[in-house]
């Protein structure tokens, strides 16, 4: 092994000061629309009627946020989103862990063939199946139910693929030692292997949750009754009467409020998310 004598930083050649200034300018473009949104949300609708440039002047108010508290609808949508995204995530975690363990560490007839077929599932976009899915769910009377909103996510091959990779990375001697103790296959999975995959569960869980929370097309066509809307669809539906009735300030406050759950998840798990995105995808 050769240790370079000069401690040399390769970054210094790419990340120079002008580039950083450029990034700072872009960050303003990144933040300006959000600042504008927050600004609108803390102005009364009367002030905004006179002209939205009043955002730059006092007075500010929280009345729009108080109005959200009074409109029960938004909280109903929030609850729906929590139920659907949580159910979706738990389902994916259970199914993907079981399948990942099976594919990565056990041998059964046609294992390779089945795995390759499942991998093909990664290439099937939602658009290719959504019409037929919608029809199936009509037959089964699953539209406008929580189950109907969760189920399509269970078929995603991504989690299975990810968990298979993680289970493969665990050294073989760990479960072989357990087998000598006559532990059953499921016990080994449950007591020994599963705890080792907690970081992977967290990654998969966060991404599945955010994906389910932000899902647009399926809840748009499946939840047609207003009380079954998820937050994403509910906020979209109040957009259609944009710039009228409720007023810009209220709409902006709703948007800020609706984005909070995702932002909070992001702030808590930021490090996890960043590692997962930059670590996993380029290999």
């Amino acid at each position: 092994m050769r240790e370079p004598e000069v401690t040399y930083k390769p970054e210094s050649l790419t990340a120079s000061r002008p580039l950083l200034w450029g990034a700072a300018v872009l960050s303003l473009i990144m933040m300006a629309p959000v600042a504008w949104l927050v600004g609108l949300s803390i102005k009364s609708n009367q002030d905004l009627m006179m002209g939205t440039d009043s955002v730059f002047r006092f007075p500010y108010t929280l009345v729009n946020y108080l109005n959200i508290l009074h409109s029960s609808q938004v909280f109903g949508w929030l609850l729906n989103s929590v139920i659907v995204a949580t159910g979706h995530t738990l389902g994916v975690l259970v199914l993907s862990s079981l399948a990942g363990y099976g594919f990565a560490r056990l041998e059964f007839p046609f294992r390779r063939t089945v795995f390759v077929i499942v991998l093909f599932g990664l290439a099937v976009p939602e658009q290719a199946v959504i019409i037929a899915r919608h029809q199936m769910f009509s037959w089964l009377n699953l539209h406008n139910t929580y189950l109907g909103l969760m189920l399509p996510g269970f078929s995603s091959a991504f989690g299975v693929f990810l968990m298979t990779q993680f289970f493969r990375a665990i050294p073989k001697d760990i479960d072989e030692a357990a087998l000598l103790d006559n532990a059953s296959q499921f016990r080994i999975f449950w007591k020994i292997m599963l705890p080792l995959t907690l970081p992977a569960q967290a990654t998969l869980g966060i991404f599945t949750f955010l994906g389910a929370w932000n899902d647009y097309w399926w809840p748009l066509i499946s939840a047609t009754r207003k009380e079954m809307y998820t937050l994403t669809i509910g906020i979209a539906s109040s957009q259609t009467n944009f710039a009228q009735s409720e007023g810009l300030g209220f709409l902006a406050a709703q948007a800020v409020f609706a984005s909070l759950p995702a932002i909070i998840v992001y702030l808590i798990f930021q490090r996890h998310i960043v590692t997962a995105v930059s670590g996993g995808a380029v290999k």
Binding site: T14, G22, A23, L26, A99, A128, I130, I131, I221, S259
Partner: protein, 291 residues
């Protein structure tokens, strides 16, 4: 003991059985059922008369479809290069670990966790004629505000601006990860030669991450071809269809006009396009070692 565990057993398949059921019922079956529907005159209740490829020929002859196809291609041709170039720029600028750069990385990725509904709402507030952020800024400097979302020629680009804002995090992160993989000794050699920053960039950095650039481009093509929510919520495809993308065409034919057979045919055409791109991605990513 360990031997029997490695042996192939049907019972081991029980672990994958639950997932496999969902996979078959909710993915494989709808995929083939969609193909079957596309060959029929079908409505909400199921397939009717078998019509062969009529749905496909009607879709391909539909001026609305062709316009949507053209819009989508324009959209991809504009947004993907923007995402790749800006993403690469940000990665180069933020490729070091200081407090400031990690804040910027976090910031540029943060929009990716928002839902399409929030993103479009934010950008509609920017674009509203007369009252939007841009209109206010235009008036400040004495320009006449443009109705970005309802002017053909602007509407698709406005959707594109919101999309780049929304999606910039992923390309940036992928490029940052690739930059970390560039072998250090290349840079050391360059430093010994006193190579300029620009030469290092064009001779070392960019060639080293060429595969990632191709991959990111393909990933973004696949993603941006599926444009739907932004266009539907910001412009509703207008004015006069100039910002209607393919997926929105499928949505309108299938779920607004309930012409299921035709919608299914259009979705198979889109699937084919995406499949070609996905195969390209697979081919590029399986050529591992080349750099």
């Amino acid at each position: 003991m360990a031997e029997s565990y490695r042996r192939s057993q049907w019972s081991h398949g029980l672990f994958i059985l639950p997932y496999l059921c969902f996979f078959l019922v909710l993915l494989v079956f709808p995929l083939f059922w969609g193909m079957w529907l596309s060959l029929h005159k079908a409505d909400l209740f199921g397939p009717g008369r078998f019509v062969g490829l009529t749905n496909y020929t009607r879709v391909l002859a539909d001026p609305v479809f062709l316009q949507a196809l053209r819009n989508t291609i324009i959209f991809v041709a504009v947004s993907v290069p923007a995402l790749v170039v800006i993403g690469l720029f940000l990665a180069l600028a933020l490729n070091r670990t200081t407090r400031a750069t990690s804040f910027f990385r976090g910031l540029f990725f943060s929009s990716s966790v928002l839902s399409v509904t929030i993103v479009t709402l934010i950008w509609r507030f920017v674009f509203i004629p007369g009252d939007g952020l841009l209109a206010v800024l235009f008036k400040q400097v004495g320009l006449t505000p443009i109705s970005f979302l309802s002017t053909s020629g602007w509407s698709l680009f406005s959707v594109g601006a919101a999309t780049v804002w929304w999606c910039i995090g992923l390309p940036m992160m992928l490029f940052l990860a690739a930059l970390q993989q560039v072998p250090q000794d290349l840079y050391e050699a360059a430093a010994l030669d006193n190579a300029s920053g620009w030469r290092v960039l064009t001779r070392i950095t960019l060639p080293s991450i060429a595969r990632t650039i191709v991959l990111v481009t393909i990933i973004q093509i696949v993603l941006q071809f599926q444009l739907f929510g932004q266009a539907q919520l910001m412009t509703n495809g207008g004015p006069s269809g100039t910002s209607r993308p393919l997926v929105m065409y499928i949505y309108e034919v299938g779920f607004v006009r309930w012409d299921i057979g035709r919608g299914a045919a259009a979705s198979q055409i889109l699937f084919l396009i995406i499949l070609v791109a996905a195969m390209a991605q697979y081919i590029v990513s399986s050529r591992k070692t080349e750099a």
